[in-house]
């Protein structure tokens, strides 16, 4: 069964990355899908409502089976094309499909989080974004442990640290639900800064 949510998120994130970087990899779609999921949590939605879960892959990055299958299905259908180096692009039919699905009411709420996640690479260097996500509390905790715990398990110990960080952000920035770009960028910068400090120490 193909997940309609996974298809939409893959198309949306893929198109945004393509706009900025020219093409995208499966790893990048997974990374920004994961960041979107966390931003949706910041916006007050339970993580279980996101529609699919993430685990930590062997390389220490977030991985969703649903996103993986969706990318595969889009490639087979011809809505995405892959070059020899493994990098992907949306085809014309992919763009049409994305336009159609973007107008569905259920997808509008997702767009707020997906867009904020993808916009971060317009405002911060790509490398900083990538490193920051690996240092956010849940990934950071998962990378220090060997078991394959679900990253979206809200009972996990790292979630309380994440909630504290979000609480601080909300207090500092106010609680507007419409624009998530500012909190996303401030948070990623904070994580980057934190990483530098810990390295310096």
């Amino acid at each position: 069964m193909i997940s309609s949510i996974g298809i939409f998120d893959s198309l949306y994130v893929g198109a945004k990355l393509q706009e900025k970087l020219g093409d995208f990899s499966s790893y990048e779609v997974q990374l920004f899908g994961y960041l979107s999921c966390l931003l949706s949590l910041y916006n007050g939605n339970p993580i279980s409502n996101w529609g699919y879960a993430f685990i930590k892959n062997d390389l220490g990055s977030p991985y969703s089976k649903i996103l993986d299958e969706s990318l595969e299905a889009l490639l087979i259908k011809g809505d995405m094309e892959k070059d020899e180096g493994g990098f992907m692009k949306l085809s014309d039919t992919g763009h049409v499909l994305l336009n159609n699905y973007s107008s569905f009411p259920s997808n509008r709420n997702r767009i707020t989080s997906l867009e904020a996640a993808c916009k971060s690479i317009q405002l911060l260097p790509y490398g900083v974004v990538k490193d920051s996500i690996s240092k956010e509390p849940i990934m950071n905790y998962a990378n220090q442990h060997t078991n394959k715990r679900l990253l979206s398990d809200q009972d996990g110990p790292a979630f309380s640290i994440l909630y504290d960080q979000f609480e601080m952000l909300k207090n500092a920035l106010g609680g507007s639900r419409d624009n998530l770009v500012v909190p996303a960028v401030v948070w990623l910068e904070y994580l980057a800064e934190k990483k530098k400090t810990s390295v310096a120490l």
Binding site: A73, I76, K77, G78, S103, F104
Partner: protein, 648 residues
Amino acid sequence: MKNYYFPIIRKLVINDFTLYKKVNQVSIDLPNGVFCLVGANGLGKSTFINILNFALTGIVKRPDSDFSQFGSIPQFYTKSKSFAPIYFDRRIDENYRSVANVTVEFSVRNTIYTVTRNFFSIDAIESLSIIRENQNLVEANTVTEGDLDSFYKKTLAENIGLGDFEQFVFLQFFVFTFDETHQLLFWDNSLMERVLYLFFNLDPSKAKIADQLRKEITATESSMRNLQWDATQKGKELASLLSQIEDSGNSNAGIQEEDVKQYQELSGRLNDTLDMIQNVESELKECDLLLADYRLRMSTLKSEYDLLFNSSFNRDAALEKDPAIIDLLFKIRHNVCDGVDPTPLFSEIIKIIWETKCIKNSNLDSEEQLARLRSIDEDIFSKTSEHDKIQKRKDRLTEDYKQYRNKANEIKSLMDEIEQANENFVLSLYKNTATTDLSVLVTSMRSHIDRILQIKQEESKKRDLKREELKILERELNQKYVEAEEKFMPIFVDYARNFLGLDVNVNIQTYAKGATLILEVNDSLRKEKYQLSESQRYFIDIALRMALIEYSSEKAVILIDTPEGSLDIAYESKAGKMFADFTKKDYNLLMTANINSSMLLIQLATQCGSGHMKLEKMTDWTFLSEVQQQEQAYMQEAFQRIEEILEG
């Protein structure tokens, strides 16, 4: 004698009142003359009247309670306060509770008031301005946000010329509003007496004193009844004790009076709280049912969506990239290379292409499929937001439920303490009587009974004194009424006779429990309701209200909710003329009507014309039900007819 200056409502703005589905804001300028809100049943016409009164007073009248149940004007006001949030609860969407509000602009003499209230705040005003001679009194008096409500009440009552704000609230609901509860002044002595004091005794403080005296007399009489009951109980206990002494048995003892009172009071509170708990429980059950229903429907829709999404996705997969076809191609190559006949595999490829790649095989083409997907998605989205709203409501109710339960537990433990204490008391009494002379106990009980009867006697004297005081006021009221009769009576008789076509008269009558006006039609007393038809009763009562208003003030607004509903056809035209006569004397009428061919509206429109009457359609604010939509053409026709009459 024009001694009052009642509010003239100029404008009403209602924000985010989601019962009115079409608009986020309803803004109404109220003209001089007649403002008529027309619409079918169930669209919120009565709600509109309640919103306006809420904006003015901060309360909504409980539809199921008579004035006599409250006992006094202050009690009516105080006990009605908590009803507004309950009334507006389902009329305003859960998500809009904090933002929905109403602003009313009105003038009293040379002062313009603008009051904004949130529908769920009790004793609070969101914003207030009181402009007199280009000065905002709120700012001039540096009134803080928390004091806006009390400043408004005080200023308005003084401005109108009443003793206090509660009297204004009383008049607004029982004289200036003829609503769907149809509480009539005639045939309700407790209402009529208050009205007479306020309109004919000139000094509003006297009305307040009379109201207080009436309340105290009622309280004293109730206390006398309690004391008598207590004395009787004690007498029974004594008799039982004497009989037990005779049988060498045990004796009994009474419970401390204060404890009994406190216990009764707690028991009353407990019952109220348990009622609230029961209400919340039933609402919670309803929420659970709705939530389950929405979840089921959402899940069905989701399955339908997934199925459709997947079928379209598979069908659209490019032929050369379809894994099933690629797999078959590999098999064919393998067969060809191994010299095996590959043709049986061709039919499998044809089958896959036929089943998954041919548009003909699908009931829907891709455009249609997309539209169908979108429509299901919209349905899921709308159901999700409904579901979330109910969930939010359930969360709030669960919180209320916890609070009520805690309250009930607190009350119950206080009651337990009293029970415990009295049980000990009784037990100790029994222990004493076992060793001491029981005649001491009998004497003590006898003297206790005597004391109770003595207190009852004192209460009776107090009541008589208060009755005397009240009688003085009643005499004064009688005199004032007789003085006023010369001016008041012709006004009332005019309205009533024009409507009924019969000779009408009213007389003041003082009876044991107070004063009232008695109606006479063709020289025959109509003390009982059944002596007039329903429409005669309603419109005579409206005539009385109009006469009281005309007698006491230069200008005022009367609110009448769907008057034509209860009207005999024979009286429709006359009622329309009665309203028109009232508004021609510079008074305003705000009414609601269920648009139809009623002669009341036609007559009113004929008499008033467009310069003096404004129609507002509720269909501009909200949607009609399916049945109403079927009748829309008919209603539109009726509406146009009235508009044409207005335009002359």
